[in-house]
Protein backbone atom coordinates (compact mmCIF):
# COMPACT_ATOMS: atom_id res chain seq x y z
CA UNK A 1 0.00 0.00 0.00
CA UNK A 2 1.14 3.48 -0.80
CA UNK A 3 2.74 5.06 2.24
CA UNK A 4 0.79 8.28 1.82
CA UNK A 5 -2.51 6.40 1.77
CA UNK A 6 -1.47 4.78 5.02
CA UNK A 7 -0.62 8.09 6.61
CA UNK A 8 -3.90 9.47 5.31
CA UNK A 9 -5.95 6.68 6.89
CA UNK A 10 -4.16 6.99 10.23
CA UNK A 11 -4.56 10.75 10.20
CA UNK A 12 -8.25 10.38 9.36
CA UNK A 13 -8.86 8.03 12.29
CA UNK A 14 -7.15 10.44 14.70
CA UNK A 15 -9.09 13.37 13.26
CA UNK A 16 -12.37 11.50 13.74
CA UNK A 17 -11.53 10.80 17.36
CA UNK A 18 -10.42 14.34 18.07
CA UNK A 19 -13.46 15.88 16.35
CA UNK A 20 -15.79 13.65 18.35
CA UNK A 21 -14.14 14.59 21.63
CA UNK A 22 -14.20 18.23 20.57
CA UNK A 23 -17.89 18.12 19.67
CA UNK A 24 -18.93 16.54 22.96
CA UNK A 25 -16.57 18.81 24.89
CA UNK A 26 -18.07 21.86 23.18
CA UNK A 27 -21.61 20.66 23.85
CA UNK A 28 -21.03 19.99 27.52
CA UNK A 29 -18.95 23.08 28.20
CA UNK A 30 -21.55 25.28 26.51
CA UNK A 31 -24.25 23.71 28.68
CA UNK A 32 -22.21 24.13 31.86
CA UNK A 33 -21.12 27.65 30.94
CA UNK A 34 -24.71 28.78 30.43
CA UNK A 35 -26.30 26.60 33.09
CA UNK A 36 -24.04 26.86 36.13
CA UNK A 37 -24.91 30.55 36.82
CA UNK A 38 -28.59 29.58 36.78
CA UNK A 39 -28.20 26.92 39.45
CA UNK A 40 -29.49 28.05 42.81
CA UNK A 41 -32.10 27.07 45.34
CA UNK A 42 -34.53 29.59 43.92
CA UNK A 43 -34.29 27.81 40.55
CA UNK A 44 -35.89 24.81 42.21
CA UNK A 45 -38.13 26.34 44.85
CA UNK A 46 -38.62 29.91 43.61
CA UNK A 47 -40.18 31.94 46.48
CA UNK A 48 -41.25 29.02 48.63
CA UNK A 49 -38.96 27.96 51.48
CA UNK A 50 -37.20 24.73 50.65
CA UNK A 51 -38.35 22.92 53.79
CA UNK A 52 -41.98 23.87 53.26
CA UNK A 53 -41.84 22.60 49.70
CA UNK A 54 -40.15 19.33 50.62
CA UNK A 55 -42.73 18.65 53.31
CA UNK A 56 -45.48 19.52 50.79
CA UNK A 57 -46.77 22.22 53.12
CA UNK A 58 -46.78 24.83 50.42
CA UNK A 59 -47.10 24.51 46.68
CA UNK A 60 -44.20 25.68 44.54
CA UNK A 61 -45.08 27.96 41.66
CA UNK A 62 -42.69 28.55 38.81
CA UNK A 63 -39.77 26.57 40.23
CA UNK A 64 -38.45 23.24 38.99
CA UNK A 65 -39.52 21.39 42.13
CA UNK A 66 -42.76 19.90 40.72
CA UNK A 67 -40.93 18.75 37.59
CA UNK A 68 -38.19 17.05 39.59
CA UNK A 69 -40.71 15.35 41.87
CA UNK A 70 -42.76 14.34 38.82
CA UNK A 71 -39.73 12.74 37.17
CA UNK A 72 -38.74 10.88 40.35
CA UNK A 73 -42.30 9.60 40.97
CA UNK A 74 -42.56 8.56 37.34
CA UNK A 75 -39.30 6.60 37.55
CA UNK A 76 -40.34 4.83 40.75
CA UNK A 77 -43.81 3.91 39.49
CA UNK A 78 -42.64 2.67 36.09
CA UNK A 79 -39.89 0.58 37.64
CA UNK A 80 -42.36 -0.95 40.09
CA UNK A 81 -44.45 -2.10 37.10
CA UNK A 82 -41.48 -3.22 35.07
CA UNK A 83 -39.35 -5.15 37.58
CA UNK A 84 -41.64 -8.10 38.43
CA UNK A 85 -42.71 -8.70 34.84
CA UNK A 86 -39.21 -8.11 33.48
CA UNK A 87 -37.39 -10.33 35.95
CA UNK A 88 -40.01 -13.09 35.64
CA UNK A 89 -39.74 -13.04 31.83
CA UNK A 90 -35.96 -12.99 32.07
CA UNK A 91 -35.97 -16.05 34.32
CA UNK A 92 -38.42 -17.84 32.04
CA UNK A 93 -36.35 -17.13 28.93
CA UNK A 94 -33.08 -17.94 30.64
CA UNK A 95 -34.02 -21.10 32.50
CA UNK A 96 -37.34 -22.57 31.41
CA UNK A 97 -38.09 -21.73 27.79
CA UNK A 98 -37.53 -24.59 25.36
CA UNK A 99 -35.86 -24.15 22.01
CA UNK A 100 -39.05 -24.38 20.00
CA UNK A 101 -40.58 -21.26 21.54
CA UNK A 102 -37.49 -19.20 22.22
CA UNK A 103 -37.10 -17.69 18.72
CA UNK A 104 -40.74 -16.55 18.87
CA UNK A 105 -40.27 -14.78 22.20
CA UNK A 106 -36.92 -13.40 21.12
CA UNK A 107 -38.30 -11.91 17.92
CA UNK A 108 -41.15 -10.11 19.66
CA UNK A 109 -38.86 -8.80 22.39
CA UNK A 110 -36.25 -7.63 19.89
CA UNK A 111 -38.96 -5.72 18.01
CA UNK A 112 -40.18 -4.24 21.30
CA UNK A 113 -36.64 -3.18 22.14
CA UNK A 114 -36.24 -1.54 18.73
CA UNK A 115 -39.58 0.24 18.57
CA UNK A 116 -39.17 4.04 18.56
CA UNK A 117 -40.21 5.46 21.90
CA UNK A 118 -42.79 7.73 20.28
CA UNK A 119 -44.61 4.62 19.11
CA UNK A 120 -44.81 3.35 22.67
CA UNK A 121 -46.17 6.76 23.62
CA UNK A 122 -48.72 6.58 20.81
CA UNK A 123 -49.71 3.14 22.06
CA UNK A 124 -50.25 4.54 25.56
CA UNK A 125 -52.29 7.37 24.11
CA UNK A 126 -54.38 4.99 22.00
CA UNK A 127 -55.03 2.81 25.04
CA UNK A 128 -56.22 5.83 27.02
CA UNK A 129 -58.53 6.90 24.16
CA UNK A 130 -59.83 3.34 23.96
CA UNK A 131 -60.48 3.19 27.71
CA UNK A 132 -62.06 6.62 27.62
CA UNK A 133 -64.54 5.43 25.03
CA UNK A 134 -65.31 1.99 26.39
CA UNK A 135 -64.65 2.00 30.11
CA UNK A 136 -65.01 5.36 31.78
CA UNK A 137 -64.98 8.88 30.44
CA UNK A 138 -62.87 9.98 33.40
CA UNK A 139 -59.82 8.39 31.86
CA UNK A 140 -57.53 10.74 30.00
CA UNK A 141 -53.82 10.49 29.30
CA UNK A 142 -52.44 10.68 32.83
CA UNK A 143 -49.67 9.73 35.21
CA UNK A 144 -50.80 6.08 35.36
CA UNK A 145 -50.82 5.69 31.57
CA UNK A 146 -47.39 7.37 31.33
CA UNK A 147 -45.85 5.09 33.91
CA UNK A 148 -47.30 1.98 32.25
CA UNK A 149 -46.08 3.09 28.83
CA UNK A 150 -42.61 3.82 30.21
CA UNK A 151 -42.62 0.38 31.83
CA UNK A 152 -43.30 -1.14 28.37
CA UNK A 153 -40.41 0.90 26.98
CA UNK A 154 -37.85 -0.34 29.53
CA UNK A 155 -39.10 -3.93 29.88
CA UNK A 156 -36.80 -5.32 27.16
CA UNK A 157 -33.71 -3.93 28.96
CA UNK A 158 -34.60 -5.65 32.23
CA UNK A 159 -35.58 -8.91 30.52
CA UNK A 160 -32.38 -9.05 28.48
CA UNK A 161 -29.99 -8.31 31.34
CA UNK A 162 -31.71 -10.87 33.58
CA UNK A 163 -31.75 -13.52 30.86
CA UNK A 164 -28.17 -12.85 29.79
CA UNK A 165 -26.81 -12.91 33.32
CA UNK A 166 -28.47 -16.31 33.89
CA UNK A 167 -27.31 -17.75 30.57
CA UNK A 168 -23.73 -16.53 30.97
CA UNK A 169 -23.18 -18.05 34.41
CA UNK A 170 -20.35 -20.58 34.61
CA UNK A 171 -21.62 -24.14 34.29
CA UNK A 172 -20.19 -25.08 37.68
CA UNK A 173 -22.29 -22.45 39.48
CA UNK A 174 -25.43 -23.48 37.65
CA UNK A 175 -25.12 -27.14 38.55
CA UNK A 176 -23.72 -27.12 42.10
CA UNK A 177 -27.08 -26.50 43.77
CA UNK A 178 -28.80 -29.09 41.61
CA UNK A 179 -26.12 -31.64 42.46
CA UNK A 180 -26.76 -31.04 46.16
CA UNK A 181 -30.41 -31.87 45.67
CA UNK A 182 -31.97 -28.41 45.25
CA UNK A 183 -35.03 -28.21 43.05
CA UNK A 184 -34.98 -26.04 39.95
CA UNK A 185 -36.87 -23.21 41.63
CA UNK A 186 -34.68 -23.36 44.76
CA UNK A 187 -31.61 -23.27 42.57
CA UNK A 188 -32.89 -20.16 40.78
CA UNK A 189 -34.15 -18.29 43.84
CA UNK A 190 -31.37 -19.10 46.32
CA UNK A 191 -28.29 -19.47 44.14
CA UNK A 192 -28.56 -18.04 40.64
CA UNK A 193 -30.46 -14.82 41.42
CA UNK A 194 -28.44 -13.81 44.52
CA UNK A 195 -25.24 -14.65 42.68
CA UNK A 196 -26.36 -12.47 39.78
CA UNK A 197 -27.94 -9.68 41.70
CA UNK A 198 -25.50 -6.96 40.79
CA UNK A 199 -25.79 -7.53 37.03
CA UNK A 200 -29.57 -7.64 37.25
CA UNK A 201 -29.50 -4.43 39.27
CA UNK A 202 -27.20 -2.78 36.73
CA UNK A 203 -29.79 -3.57 34.04
CA UNK A 204 -32.51 -2.09 36.22
CA UNK A 205 -30.47 1.08 36.75
CA UNK A 206 -30.00 1.42 32.99
CA UNK A 207 -33.77 1.11 32.69
CA UNK A 208 -34.18 3.85 35.32
CA UNK A 209 -31.91 6.06 33.23
CA UNK A 210 -34.12 5.49 30.20
CA UNK A 211 -37.20 6.42 32.26
CA UNK A 212 -35.52 9.59 33.44
CA UNK A 213 -34.49 10.81 30.00
CA UNK A 214 -37.36 9.74 27.83
CA UNK A 215 -39.43 12.59 26.50
CA UNK A 216 -41.35 11.18 23.57
CA UNK A 217 -43.41 8.71 25.59
CA UNK A 218 -44.52 11.10 28.30
CA UNK A 219 -45.18 13.85 25.78
CA UNK A 220 -47.99 11.75 24.32
CA UNK A 221 -49.32 10.36 27.56
CA UNK A 222 -50.18 13.21 29.84
CA UNK A 223 -47.22 15.37 30.82
CA UNK A 224 -47.98 19.10 30.83
CA UNK A 225 -45.96 22.24 31.37
CA UNK A 226 -47.73 23.42 34.51
CA UNK A 227 -49.46 21.01 36.84
CA UNK A 228 -47.78 21.04 40.21
CA UNK A 229 -47.04 17.81 42.03
CA UNK A 230 -49.30 14.98 40.77
CA UNK A 231 -52.14 14.48 43.20
CA UNK A 232 -53.42 11.15 41.95
CA UNK A 233 -52.56 8.41 39.49
CA UNK A 234 -55.14 9.81 37.11
CA UNK A 235 -53.78 13.34 37.27
CA UNK A 236 -51.54 15.34 34.98
CA UNK A 237 -47.95 15.94 36.05
CA UNK A 238 -44.72 17.72 35.17
CA UNK A 239 -41.38 16.16 34.28
CA UNK A 240 -37.87 17.51 33.71
CA UNK A 241 -37.22 16.37 30.13
CA UNK A 242 -40.56 17.71 28.94
CA UNK A 243 -39.90 20.97 30.76
CA UNK A 244 -36.64 21.35 28.82
CA UNK A 245 -38.40 20.62 25.55
CA UNK A 246 -41.19 23.04 26.41
CA UNK A 247 -38.78 25.85 27.29
CA UNK A 248 -36.79 25.34 24.09
CA UNK A 249 -39.86 25.82 21.91
CA UNK A 250 -41.69 28.40 23.95
CA UNK A 251 -39.58 30.69 26.12
CA UNK A 252 -40.60 34.31 26.60
CA UNK A 253 -37.70 35.75 28.52
CA UNK A 254 -34.03 35.25 29.19
CA UNK A 255 -34.96 34.19 32.71
CA UNK A 256 -37.09 31.29 31.51
CA UNK A 257 -34.32 30.24 29.20
CA UNK A 258 -31.88 30.18 32.10
CA UNK A 259 -34.28 27.89 33.91
CA UNK A 260 -34.18 25.58 30.88
CA UNK A 261 -30.38 25.43 31.11
CA UNK A 262 -30.61 24.79 34.84
CA UNK A 263 -33.11 21.98 34.27
CA UNK A 264 -30.82 20.47 31.60
CA UNK A 265 -27.93 20.36 34.06
CA UNK A 266 -30.06 18.74 36.74
CA UNK A 267 -31.35 16.11 34.29
CA UNK A 268 -27.85 15.47 32.95
CA UNK A 269 -26.54 15.03 36.49
CA UNK A 270 -29.26 12.49 37.32
CA UNK A 271 -28.60 10.51 34.12
CA UNK A 272 -24.81 10.58 34.47
CA UNK A 273 -25.08 9.46 38.09
CA UNK A 274 -27.32 6.51 37.16
CA UNK A 275 -25.05 5.62 34.26
CA UNK A 276 -21.95 5.64 36.47
CA UNK A 277 -23.69 3.51 39.08
CA UNK A 278 -24.70 0.92 36.51
CA UNK A 279 -21.13 0.82 35.17
CA UNK A 280 -19.62 0.32 38.60
CA UNK A 281 -21.95 -2.62 39.23
CA UNK A 282 -21.09 -4.10 35.84
CA UNK A 283 -17.38 -3.81 36.58
CA UNK A 284 -17.89 -5.54 39.91
CA UNK A 285 -19.49 -8.48 38.11
CA UNK A 286 -16.70 -8.59 35.53
CA UNK A 287 -14.01 -8.63 38.23
CA UNK A 288 -15.74 -11.44 40.10
CA UNK A 289 -15.94 -13.59 36.99
CA UNK A 290 -12.35 -12.82 36.11
CA UNK A 291 -11.16 -14.07 39.51
CA UNK A 292 -13.24 -17.21 39.15
CA UNK A 293 -11.73 -18.12 35.81
Amino acid sequence: MNRFVEYGITLFAWMAGIILIGAIGLLLSFLLHRGIPALSLSLIFEETRALDALLLRKEVFGGLFPAIVGTLLLIVTSIIWAIPVGVASGIYLGEYCNFRWKPFFNFLLDVLAGIPSILVGLFGFAVSVFLHRHLSDRIYPCFLISSLALACLVLPYIIRTTEQSLVNLPFSIKTTGLALGASKLQNILFILIPYNLSSIVSGIILAIGRCAEDTAVIMLTGVVAMAGIPSSLLGKYEALPFYIFYISSDYNSQEELMKGFGASIILLTICVFLFALSNILKRKVAIRFAIRI
Binding site: M1, A23, S89, P116, S183, F245
Partner: protein, 287 residues
Protein backbone atom coordinates in the same frame (compact mmCIF):
# COMPACT_ATOMS: atom_id res chain seq x y z
CA UNK B 1 -39.96 -27.09 47.92
CA UNK B 2 -43.16 -28.84 46.95
CA UNK B 3 -43.75 -29.62 43.35
CA UNK B 4 -47.00 -27.65 43.29
CA UNK B 5 -45.05 -24.50 44.21
CA UNK B 6 -42.55 -25.32 41.48
CA UNK B 7 -45.36 -25.60 38.94
CA UNK B 8 -46.94 -22.38 40.15
CA UNK B 9 -43.66 -20.47 39.90
CA UNK B 10 -43.07 -21.75 36.40
CA UNK B 11 -46.58 -20.65 35.43
CA UNK B 12 -45.82 -17.25 36.94
CA UNK B 13 -42.60 -16.86 34.97
CA UNK B 14 -44.38 -17.97 31.80
CA UNK B 15 -47.13 -15.46 32.46
CA UNK B 16 -44.54 -12.67 32.75
CA UNK B 17 -42.96 -13.68 29.46
CA UNK B 18 -46.32 -13.89 27.71
CA UNK B 19 -47.33 -10.50 29.12
CA UNK B 20 -44.19 -8.76 27.92
CA UNK B 21 -44.24 -10.31 24.47
CA UNK B 22 -47.93 -9.54 24.09
CA UNK B 23 -47.09 -5.82 24.39
CA UNK B 24 -45.50 -5.95 20.95
CA UNK B 25 -48.60 -7.59 19.51
CA UNK B 26 -50.84 -5.12 21.34
CA UNK B 27 -48.95 -2.16 19.89
CA UNK B 28 -49.34 -3.54 16.38
CA UNK B 29 -53.03 -4.27 16.85
CA UNK B 30 -53.77 -0.84 18.31
CA UNK B 31 -52.08 0.80 15.32
CA UNK B 32 -54.26 -1.33 13.05
CA UNK B 33 -57.41 -0.73 15.08
CA UNK B 34 -57.05 3.04 14.94
CA UNK B 35 -56.06 3.29 11.31
CA UNK B 36 -58.72 0.75 10.30
CA UNK B 37 -61.28 3.41 9.24
CA UNK B 38 -58.79 4.54 6.62
CA UNK B 39 -58.23 1.03 5.32
CA UNK B 40 -61.99 0.45 5.17
CA UNK B 41 -62.67 3.68 3.34
CA UNK B 42 -60.16 2.66 0.70
CA UNK B 43 -58.25 5.89 1.20
CA UNK B 44 -55.08 4.15 2.23
CA UNK B 45 -53.40 4.55 -1.14
CA UNK B 46 -54.15 8.26 -0.98
CA UNK B 47 -52.57 8.46 2.44
CA UNK B 48 -49.40 6.92 1.22
CA UNK B 49 -49.15 8.68 -2.11
CA UNK B 50 -50.34 12.24 -1.91
CA UNK B 51 -48.89 15.22 -0.14
CA UNK B 52 -50.33 16.99 2.87
CA UNK B 53 -52.87 19.74 2.25
CA UNK B 54 -55.76 19.96 4.71
CA UNK B 55 -57.55 22.59 2.63
CA UNK B 56 -57.89 20.17 -0.25
CA UNK B 57 -58.56 17.28 2.11
CA UNK B 58 -55.25 15.59 1.39
CA UNK B 59 -53.55 13.97 4.32
CA UNK B 60 -50.80 11.96 2.68
CA UNK B 61 -47.84 11.05 4.86
CA UNK B 62 -45.41 11.02 1.96
CA UNK B 63 -43.62 14.26 3.00
CA UNK B 64 -42.98 12.76 6.42
CA UNK B 65 -41.68 9.52 4.94
CA UNK B 66 -39.33 11.45 2.69
CA UNK B 67 -38.31 13.66 5.62
CA UNK B 68 -37.48 10.69 7.80
CA UNK B 69 -35.62 9.00 4.96
CA UNK B 70 -33.52 12.03 4.07
CA UNK B 71 -32.66 13.06 7.63
CA UNK B 72 -31.84 9.52 8.74
CA UNK B 73 -29.73 8.72 5.68
CA UNK B 74 -27.75 11.95 5.97
CA UNK B 75 -27.16 11.21 9.63
CA UNK B 76 -25.85 7.74 8.72
CA UNK B 77 -23.76 9.24 5.92
CA UNK B 78 -22.13 11.70 8.33
CA UNK B 79 -21.75 9.24 11.19
CA UNK B 80 -20.32 6.27 9.26
CA UNK B 81 -16.85 7.64 8.43
CA UNK B 82 -16.50 9.09 11.92
CA UNK B 83 -17.69 5.85 13.44
CA UNK B 84 -15.25 3.74 11.44
CA UNK B 85 -12.42 6.18 12.19
CA UNK B 86 -13.10 6.22 15.93
CA UNK B 87 -13.51 2.48 16.26
CA UNK B 88 -10.33 1.88 14.23
CA UNK B 89 -8.61 4.22 16.65
CA UNK B 90 -10.02 2.39 19.67
CA UNK B 91 -9.35 -1.17 18.54
CA UNK B 92 -6.34 -0.87 16.23
CA UNK B 93 -4.31 2.31 16.25
CA UNK B 94 -4.42 3.38 19.86
CA UNK B 95 -5.41 0.59 22.17
CA UNK B 96 -3.81 2.30 25.13
CA UNK B 97 -4.33 5.80 26.47
CA UNK B 98 -6.19 7.81 23.87
CA UNK B 99 -8.28 4.93 22.57
CA UNK B 100 -9.33 3.93 26.04
CA UNK B 101 -10.27 7.51 26.87
CA UNK B 102 -12.27 7.74 23.64
CA UNK B 103 -14.16 4.54 24.43
CA UNK B 104 -15.01 5.80 27.92
CA UNK B 105 -16.27 9.04 26.41
CA UNK B 106 -18.40 7.21 23.85
CA UNK B 107 -19.89 5.02 26.57
CA UNK B 108 -20.61 8.16 28.54
CA UNK B 109 -22.38 9.65 25.51
CA UNK B 110 -24.98 6.89 25.60
CA UNK B 111 -26.05 8.27 28.97
CA UNK B 112 -26.75 11.82 27.77
CA UNK B 113 -30.51 12.48 27.38
CA UNK B 114 -31.65 13.16 23.81
CA UNK B 115 -33.54 16.26 24.80
CA UNK B 116 -30.27 17.82 25.95
CA UNK B 117 -28.67 17.25 22.54
CA UNK B 118 -31.63 19.03 20.99
CA UNK B 119 -31.64 21.84 23.53
CA UNK B 120 -27.97 22.67 23.11
CA UNK B 121 -28.21 22.35 19.32
CA UNK B 122 -30.86 25.07 19.20
CA UNK B 123 -28.43 27.58 20.68
CA UNK B 124 -25.15 26.27 19.30
CA UNK B 125 -25.66 24.57 15.95
CA UNK B 126 -28.79 26.19 14.55
CA UNK B 127 -27.37 29.77 14.49
CA UNK B 128 -24.24 28.43 12.81
CA UNK B 129 -26.24 26.66 10.10
CA UNK B 130 -28.32 29.81 9.63
CA UNK B 131 -25.10 31.75 9.01
CA UNK B 132 -23.87 29.19 6.50
CA UNK B 133 -27.03 29.10 4.39
CA UNK B 134 -27.83 32.79 4.86
CA UNK B 135 -31.55 32.01 4.73
CA UNK B 136 -34.32 30.51 6.79
CA UNK B 137 -34.18 29.89 10.51
CA UNK B 138 -31.36 27.36 10.53
CA UNK B 139 -33.82 24.67 11.57
CA UNK B 140 -33.39 22.36 8.64
CA UNK B 141 -32.42 18.92 7.39
CA UNK B 142 -28.71 19.64 7.82
CA UNK B 143 -28.94 20.67 11.49
CA UNK B 144 -31.08 17.67 12.36
CA UNK B 145 -28.79 15.28 10.47
CA UNK B 146 -25.66 16.56 12.19
CA UNK B 147 -27.19 16.25 15.65
CA UNK B 148 -28.66 12.83 14.85
CA UNK B 149 -25.24 11.72 13.62
CA UNK B 150 -23.80 12.69 17.00
CA UNK B 151 -26.65 10.83 18.72
CA UNK B 152 -26.10 7.57 16.82
CA UNK B 153 -22.30 7.70 16.86
CA UNK B 154 -22.01 5.84 20.19
CA UNK B 155 -24.14 2.99 18.80
CA UNK B 156 -21.92 2.73 15.74
CA UNK B 157 -18.59 3.12 17.54
CA UNK B 158 -19.32 0.68 20.37
CA UNK B 159 -20.68 -1.91 17.98
CA UNK B 160 -17.90 -1.55 15.43
CA UNK B 161 -15.08 -1.63 17.93
CA UNK B 162 -16.58 -4.79 19.41
CA UNK B 163 -16.79 -6.24 15.91
CA UNK B 164 -13.14 -5.28 15.30
CA UNK B 165 -12.09 -6.80 18.61
CA UNK B 166 -13.86 -10.06 17.83
CA UNK B 167 -11.46 -10.83 14.97
CA UNK B 168 -9.49 -13.93 16.11
CA UNK B 169 -6.12 -13.01 17.53
CA UNK B 170 -4.15 -15.59 15.51
CA UNK B 171 -5.21 -13.83 12.27
CA UNK B 172 -3.75 -10.60 13.64
CA UNK B 173 -0.62 -12.38 14.81
CA UNK B 174 -0.21 -13.86 11.34
CA UNK B 175 -0.52 -10.40 9.81
CA UNK B 176 2.01 -9.05 12.31
CA UNK B 177 4.41 -11.88 11.50
CA UNK B 178 4.20 -10.96 7.80
CA UNK B 179 5.22 -7.44 8.71
CA UNK B 180 1.88 -5.74 8.16
CA UNK B 181 1.46 -2.17 9.40
CA UNK B 182 -1.59 -1.34 11.54
CA UNK B 183 -3.32 0.24 8.53
CA UNK B 184 -2.73 -2.86 6.41
CA UNK B 185 -4.05 -5.02 9.22
CA UNK B 186 -7.18 -2.89 9.36
CA UNK B 187 -7.82 -2.83 5.61
CA UNK B 188 -6.84 -6.39 4.63
CA UNK B 189 -7.61 -8.42 7.75
CA UNK B 190 -9.97 -6.76 10.20
CA UNK B 191 -12.52 -5.07 7.96
CA UNK B 192 -13.03 -8.07 5.60
CA UNK B 193 -13.50 -10.34 8.63
CA UNK B 194 -15.76 -7.98 10.54
CA UNK B 195 -18.01 -6.80 7.71
CA UNK B 196 -21.10 -8.47 9.11
CA UNK B 197 -20.59 -6.66 12.37
CA UNK B 198 -20.07 -3.37 10.54
CA UNK B 199 -23.30 -3.73 8.54
CA UNK B 200 -25.21 -4.78 11.69
CA UNK B 201 -23.97 -1.72 13.56
CA UNK B 202 -24.99 0.58 10.72
CA UNK B 203 -28.46 -1.01 10.38
CA UNK B 204 -28.97 -0.68 14.12
CA UNK B 205 -27.92 2.96 13.96
CA UNK B 206 -30.29 3.57 11.03
CA UNK B 207 -33.13 2.25 13.18
CA UNK B 208 -32.20 4.61 15.99
CA UNK B 209 -31.89 7.55 13.59
CA UNK B 210 -35.30 6.96 12.01
CA UNK B 211 -36.94 6.35 15.36
CA UNK B 212 -35.65 9.36 17.23
CA UNK B 213 -38.25 12.01 17.91
CA UNK B 214 -36.80 14.84 19.92
CA UNK B 215 -33.92 15.95 17.70
CA UNK B 216 -35.99 16.19 14.55
CA UNK B 217 -38.92 17.70 16.42
CA UNK B 218 -36.72 20.39 17.94
CA UNK B 219 -34.40 21.35 15.10
CA UNK B 220 -35.66 20.01 11.76
CA UNK B 221 -38.19 22.83 11.31
CA UNK B 222 -41.29 20.62 11.04
CA UNK B 223 -42.48 22.12 7.74
CA UNK B 224 -45.08 20.08 5.90
CA UNK B 225 -43.30 19.78 2.62
CA UNK B 226 -41.02 17.46 0.78
CA UNK B 227 -37.55 18.87 1.45
CA UNK B 228 -35.65 19.74 -1.72
CA UNK B 229 -32.29 20.44 -0.21
CA UNK B 230 -30.23 20.40 2.94
CA UNK B 231 -31.34 23.90 3.89
CA UNK B 232 -35.07 23.07 3.74
CA UNK B 233 -37.12 22.44 6.84
CA UNK B 234 -38.65 18.98 7.05
CA UNK B 235 -40.90 16.89 9.25
CA UNK B 236 -40.29 13.28 10.18
CA UNK B 237 -42.84 10.53 10.86
CA UNK B 238 -41.97 10.64 14.55
CA UNK B 239 -42.32 14.38 14.99
CA UNK B 240 -45.53 14.31 12.93
CA UNK B 241 -47.02 11.99 15.55
CA UNK B 242 -45.89 14.30 18.34
CA UNK B 243 -47.29 17.39 16.62
CA UNK B 244 -50.71 16.07 15.59
CA UNK B 245 -51.55 14.24 18.82
CA UNK B 246 -53.48 17.15 20.33
CA UNK B 247 -55.96 17.47 17.48
CA UNK B 248 -59.56 16.25 17.27
CA UNK B 249 -59.88 12.48 17.69
CA UNK B 250 -62.23 12.03 14.74
CA UNK B 251 -60.29 14.10 12.22
CA UNK B 252 -58.38 12.50 9.35
CA UNK B 253 -55.20 14.22 10.59
CA UNK B 254 -55.50 12.27 13.80
CA UNK B 255 -55.98 8.98 12.00
CA UNK B 256 -52.99 9.65 9.80
CA UNK B 257 -50.63 9.45 12.78
CA UNK B 258 -51.55 5.81 13.23
CA UNK B 259 -50.55 5.21 9.62
CA UNK B 260 -47.21 6.80 10.55
CA UNK B 261 -47.09 4.49 13.55
CA UNK B 262 -47.74 1.45 11.37
CA UNK B 263 -44.98 2.48 8.97
CA UNK B 264 -42.53 2.89 11.84
CA UNK B 265 -43.54 -0.46 13.30
CA UNK B 266 -43.02 -2.27 10.01
CA UNK B 267 -39.68 -0.51 9.60
CA UNK B 268 -38.56 -1.66 13.06
CA UNK B 269 -39.64 -5.24 12.40
CA UNK B 270 -37.72 -5.16 9.08
CA UNK B 271 -34.58 -3.95 10.84
CA UNK B 272 -34.85 -6.73 13.42
CA UNK B 273 -35.25 -9.24 10.58
CA UNK B 274 -32.21 -7.90 8.72
CA UNK B 275 -30.13 -8.00 11.91
CA UNK B 276 -31.27 -11.57 12.45
CA UNK B 277 -30.20 -12.55 8.94
CA UNK B 278 -26.82 -10.97 9.58
CA UNK B 279 -26.50 -12.95 12.79
CA UNK B 280 -26.34 -9.80 14.92
CA UNK B 281 -28.21 -11.32 17.82
CA UNK B 282 -25.89 -14.31 17.79
CA UNK B 283 -22.94 -11.94 18.03
CA UNK B 284 -24.63 -10.12 20.90
CA UNK B 285 -25.46 -13.28 22.78
CA UNK B 286 -22.05 -14.83 22.41
CA UNK B 287 -20.42 -11.76 23.89
Amino acid sequence: MRSSVEKLAERGFLFGALLSTSITICILSFMFLFSLPLFKGGHIAQFLRLGWNPYEGRFGVLPMMVGTGIIASFAILIATPFGIGCSALISVFSQQNFGRLLRKLVEFMTGIPTVIYGFVAIFLLVPLVREIFQKGTGMCVLSASIMLALLILPTIVLFLSDAFNSVPKNYLDAADALGATPVQKLIYVIIPLAWKGIISGLVLAAGRAAGDTLISLMIAGNALQIPKGLSDAARTLTSHIALIIASDYESPEFKSIFVCGLILFVFTALIVLILRLLGYFQILRER
